[in-house]
């Protein structure tokens, strides 16, 4: 299962790779990373059929996670991409917007990786 993680913090890559090292090692999951909304769009245009789940931060300079969500939902209707939004600000407005734009789930930072793993497992099954 291909998962694209979008966050402007580069260390997110190392963190995910270590947190999911067993899943990666077993080939259960595979991660790619983009460090901005724009980068994510470029990546999706190249690999869009491979990616099943997008985990995106909302607060990024430039294209925000919510904008990315809008673009993804518009540009890549088929196959339907699962999008999970992650934000440092767990405010209702962002949640409402994310859901209205068609996000599948909404998480607040700091991310509890045990919960995230569960959610991913659910989404896959």
């Amino acid at each position: 299962m291909q998962i694209l993680v979008v966050d402007d913090e580069t260390d997110v890559r190392d963190l995910f790779q270590q947190r999911f090292r067993r899943e990666i090692r077993s080939g259960e999951m595979s991660f790619s990373f983009a460090f901005s909304g724009e980068e994510a769009m470029t990546y999706l245009r190249d690999h869009h059929s491979e990616v099943l789940i997008i985990l995106s931060d909302i607060n990024m300079p430039g294209m925000s996670g919510l904008e990315l969500l809008g673009h993804v939902k518009k540009e890549f209707e088929m196959p339907p991409t699962t999008m999970v939004m992650i934000t440092a600000y767990g405010d209702d407005e962002s949640y409402r917007q994310a859901m209205a734009l068609g996000a599948n789930d909404f998480l607040t930072k700091p991310v509890d990786f045990a919960v995230l793993k569960e959610k991913l497992a659910q989404l896959i099954s």
Binding site: E9, D11, D14, L15, Q18, R19, R21, N59, P61, G62, M63, S64, L66, E67, A88, Y89, D91, E93, S94, Q97, K109, P110, V111, F113
Partner: protein, 441 residues
């Protein structure tokens, strides 16, 4: 005659023995009595008495010789008196004169009387002149007294006025002191207000590294457990063990890195709130601009979650360090970024189609000057407003949102604190650009 003399010469005021003159008739009674008792010859006695009276008058005049009309009268009387005296002496005991002498005495007497009258008239006019002079003097005296009284009054008024002015000056000084205190408080509160704006940004900025610290520490513990499990196995996988060890070492470095990141943010915050030491340190403008751009952006984002802007940075590589008071210059940048974000936000809220809020910061070396440009694509600043933006308390924000001190303080910090310049250029509906120019040395 005595009364006439008295009035003419104002005797009561001038002569101590004035009252004795009241008894001038006493000798005449005494003589008349003596004449009757001793059967003396009356004409001689009468002449003698008249001579006595004239001498008395002369004595009075001599006593009053300091008074000019009296002197004139004395002069007037002198020939007549002399004439009478001569007549009396020459007449001898029988009271008769030889005819020749009688003629001489008569003719000189005529002259003496004319002289007397003439001089009395002169004395009168002298007296009048003196009287006039005296009146004039009195008038002057009165005028002088009046002037003195007026002077005293003026003096009093001046004193009163001076007291009022002193009081006023005192009040003004107190007001000025109060204003200075208020200004200092405002400067501090502006600082605190910008710190308040910073707090949200700082919280976010600290939250991120802290999350990493927690996550990497957590995952490292997991990996250590995995490592010890691996070591306990009968068939060990050295590659996996090496990988785990390398990852753990890397994680510890990351924990250190993010810990440092949080610490430097806290340090920056403390520096910002502290009163400026005014000490210039070699400063990397690129780092400073980047740091405060993030803080300003995150601060705004924390308040307004729906806001998003494109941040463009164009930092000149190999920019020399510039002597600067970091926290002060940071405040300037924070203020400029804050304004830029506010401007693009306002334009965005107006719902212009296809509008992409963008804030750009760039650094540049131009000769011996380093430049920082902060540019936004907001609505721009009209010319009329542009002239006022560096004035204290000028703000275009709704009341309660801006102190109107941000740019004014920024201007002072750049120009007075760093010997640089802060200028603005703008085009309505297009952009606003602030340019900080600092001397390298």
């Amino acid at each position: 005659m005595v009364r006439g003399l008295r009035r003419f010469l104002d005797l009561p005021a001038r002569l101590a023995w004035n009252n004795i003159l009241n008894y001038i008739w006493v000798p005449s009674i005494a003589l008349a009595f003596a004449a009757w008792v001793f059967k003396l010859r009356v004409p001689v006695l009468v002449d003698g008495y008249w001579l006595f009276v004239l001498l008395t008058v002369a004595a009075v005049l001599v006593a009053l010789r300091d008074y000019r009309p009296a002197r004139t009268l004395l002069l007037a009387l002198a020939p007549f008196l002399l004439n009478k005296l001569l007549e009396f002496i020459l007449a001898g005991a029988d009271g008769r004169l030889t005819t020749r002498l009688d003629q001489l005495v008569d003719s000189t007497q005529g002259f003496a009387i004319t002289w007397l009258i003439a001089f009395i008239i002169i004395a009168r006019s002298q007296k009048k002149g003196l009287e006039k002079e005296r009146l004039q003097r009195e008038e002057e005296e009165r005028a002088k007294r009046l002037i003195e009284a007026q002077n005293v009054e003026l003096e009093r008024l001046v004193l009163e006025r001076t007291a009022a002015l002193t009081l006023q000056a005192e009040e003004l000084r107190a007001a000025l002191t109060e204003l200075r205190t208020t200004q200092a408080q405002l400067v501090q509160s502006e600082k605190m207000a910008s710190l308040g704006e910073l707090t949200a940004g700082i919280a976010h900025e600290i939250q991120n590294p802290l999350n990493f610290v927690n996550n990497f520490a957590d995952v490292s513990v997991e990996m250590l457990t995995e490592l010890s499990e691996e070591q306990a196995r009968p068939i060990r996988d050295p590659d996996l063990e090496a990988e785990l060890l390398a990852d753990i070492a890397q994680n510890l470095q990351k924990i250190h890195h993010h810990g440092q990141r949080a610490a430097s943010i806290v340090k920056g915050m403390l520096e910002h709130s502290r009163a400026s030491t005014g000490e210039r340190q070699p400063t990397n403008l690129n780092h400073l601009a980047d740091e405060y751009l993030r803080l300003a952006y995150q601060g705004l984002r924390a308040k307004d979650k729906t806001f998003n802007a494109t941040l463009n940075t164009d930092f000149a590589p190999d920019l020399p360090l510039v002597p600067a008071i970091g926290p002060d210059l940071g405040r300037v940048l924070l203020n400029l970024f804050g304004n830029a974000f506010y401007a693009v936000r306002q334009r965005q809220l107006r719902g212009e189609a296809g509008y992409a809020p963008t804030v750009a910061v760039s650094t540049h070396q131009r000769g011996d000057q380093l430049e920082i440009r902060v540019r936004d694509n907001g609505s721009g600043i009209p010319e009329a407003v542009r002239q006022k933006i560096f004035q204290p308390f000028f703000t275009t924000k709704p009341s309660g949102e801006g102190t109107g001190l941000g740019l004014s303080l920024s201007y002072d910090i750049v120009t007075q604190g760093h010997g640089g310049t802060l200028t603005v250029s703008s085009e309505e509906g297009s952009f606003t650009e602030f340019l900080i120019s600092l001397p390298v040395k």
